[in-house]
Amino acid sequence: MHPIIKLVVQRIALGLLLLLAVSVVIFLGVEMLPGDTAQAILGQSATAESLANLRESLGLNQNAPTRYFKWLGHALQGDLGKALTNQQDIAHAIGQRLGNTLFLAVCAGVIAVPLAIALGLIAARYNGRWPDKVISGVTLATISLPEFVAAYFVIYLLTQVIPILQPVSMVFPGMGFFEKLHAVALPVIVLVMVVLAHMMRMTRAAILNVMQSAYIETAELKGLSPMQVIWRHALPNAVAPIISVVVINLAYLVVGVVVVEVVFSYNALGQYLVDHVAKRDLPVVQAVGIIFAAVYIGLNILADLIGIIANPRLRHPK
């Protein structure tokens, strides 16, 4: 077997094992929270009688291992079950919300990744001069702002002062593609602001690192322009660390944006997860947790593989 294929298979198997472990951890975590689903659903209106009824109808009377393995058995067959709180089909609800999460992440990623890399290249090219300082200063400022402050700032600027966008970003079936783009414009702006600096600085650092090498000097001596040197000779050799940072940021755009979702009332997975954690709705928390974990693990495997493929020394291990 080709070593790369072997590696891929190995990583995927490890990833699956990790997912299983994650599901156990999530289950235990929710179990340890005080109060149970029945308490959380009924809240202030709970009576001893209604609690007992609800516990029984939700199947909460069984012990924890039984419930876990029951869930696992169904999940392995693709049945994520129904939400304990409102009996909605979890797979259906998650499907819609996952679509929205990915839509937002892709929109932000499509803008942020090329922009960050381009800015990183420019910063590296003009290392220590004013373009470098401006780019670093601005991106550091945007990453330092807490997300909700940045969000409120753009809401104020672009819906009140210059009213061209809408503060509530909800998307729903039946909206056209461009209508959706218009709806998510504000959260996309905020997310781009948040992820830009990390990727930009890693690009700049990686390029500058490579620029110390002897072959760069050779390239310069044979008369290539600075941008050509960076583009043709420095970037290909700096790609591994850049990719791994890009991937971490993409993963963040999928799993870590709940604050932005809440501020813009964007109906994606983060808000859905938080609502169900508050109600101790275990099947939903499990399902969403697994999806988030899978995205993280999957993207990290991808980053590793790209890093290996991009590096001949790793590609042909001795």
Partner: protein, 529 residues
Amino acid sequence: MSSELNHLLSLASAGKMSRREFVGRAGALGVSTAVAGTMLSTAVFADTPVKGGLLRAGMQGGESTNTLDPALAASDVPFMINSTWGETLVDVELNGTLGLRVAEEVSSNADATQWMFKIRKGVEYHNGATLTAEDVVATLKRHTDDKAQSGAQGIVKGITDMKAEGDMVTLTLAAGNADLPFLMADYHLIIQPGGGVDNPAAGIGSGAYKVVEHEPGVRTAFEKHANYWDSSRGHADQVEILTINDNTARTAAIQAGQIHLMNRIDPKIVELLKGNSDVAIERAAGPGHYVFIMRCNAAPFDNNDLRMALKMSVNRQEMVDKILGGMGSRGNDFPINAAYPLFDDSIPQRELDAAAAADFYKKSGHDGSPILLQVAPGAFPGAVEAAQLFQASANAAGIPLQVKLEPDDGYWSNVWNVAPFCASYWGGRPVQDQMYSTAYLSTAEWNDTAFKDAHFDEVMIAARGELDPAKRKGMYSEMANILRDNGGLICPMFNDWVEGRRNEVGGWIANPAGTLMNGKALSMCWLNA
């Protein structure tokens, strides 16, 4: 109608005179309160409704865990959604009188133990079926069933027999209850086809709008129910309810015109919003109140002198000003205010009295160890700040009150109704009896102050069967006084509904019984072009 009355009416309907002032001055001209109230609502309605358009409300208080089952509705968004697609037998109108909806006539026998509801003819559900008396009985029966986990179970429990004959529904009670029709206005008791037994969360009812799309915690879209029976409601072609839990986003959305109506404006920004010419601030003094509850059976709160000491050391006006931004009124340590019928406004207002508080504290013989008040930010908006104000004024009176911060998560199961002293809130009920029965009767499940007083219970039961309003008012006044001077409830303030309406929305009538015109804003308002 006298010309003076006409003049008053035009002032009042233009909003230049308050409802209370109008009713008072009309009373001086010999018009009864009820008639004056009706006159005023008719005058306001004279503004001609505009048909069509899409009317949108943005609201706080919804989660993706919500359902359309009316039995399980507990927060603002499900309440509003259900009130838009469904209807109850009766509802509470703005002046605290009974409005007829699915029932077109209500009557009782002499001792109020048997109530008859005549069901309106030709009321059609969204699925085309006709609403029948059997559906009404099936609905009420479902809410008595333990399995339904209905929030209205306590209300229907007192009904011993339900019968449907032709278009009449007859309810028989174990003991007389003059307030029974008001209980049928409870928002859980929406009439559903077949009682909603087969599919309680179908969202099919007889309301002005039918549900076309429903994504819990996000958005519910409705369109006009073509065969709706009441032509005075249902003006817009489509309505929508968006869940926007974030205060800033909701406020920005109404300013930008993305929504037309919003609930719960943060009192802190009311002054700022007043500068916006597109948005009107709508206030209604409702029965909702913020409370600190002491469990009367737990030390040291089992000592009435200590309870009184704490009650005397609250600076109520300061809380109304700082916590509610002036959008509310002072409480008097019983859960009733002028929003209720038969309220006795002659009971003296309790004020901050540090000297009296210190005396009571000394008399209680308390050992001086810290008295813990447990509070979480979610107990009510501004709960932590209110508790800190309380701590400051109590400490000034020499009472060692200490605030203990709890997490929001799990507060209602681990602290409320468990801890001896904590912060909480009540939304209020349509009538006094229901409020008292829910939380102050010795045997009530939600007796969160563990208040047990045999005489209080006796008066409450007797008041239910008392059909003479003057006598009932006297009985409620006695109960209020007992609770005020002996109970475990510290009620520093009643919070107004503070809501936003864009100026193009017509037909708004403040209704203190609930949020956004008691859930009917989308059904009763319209969009002026």
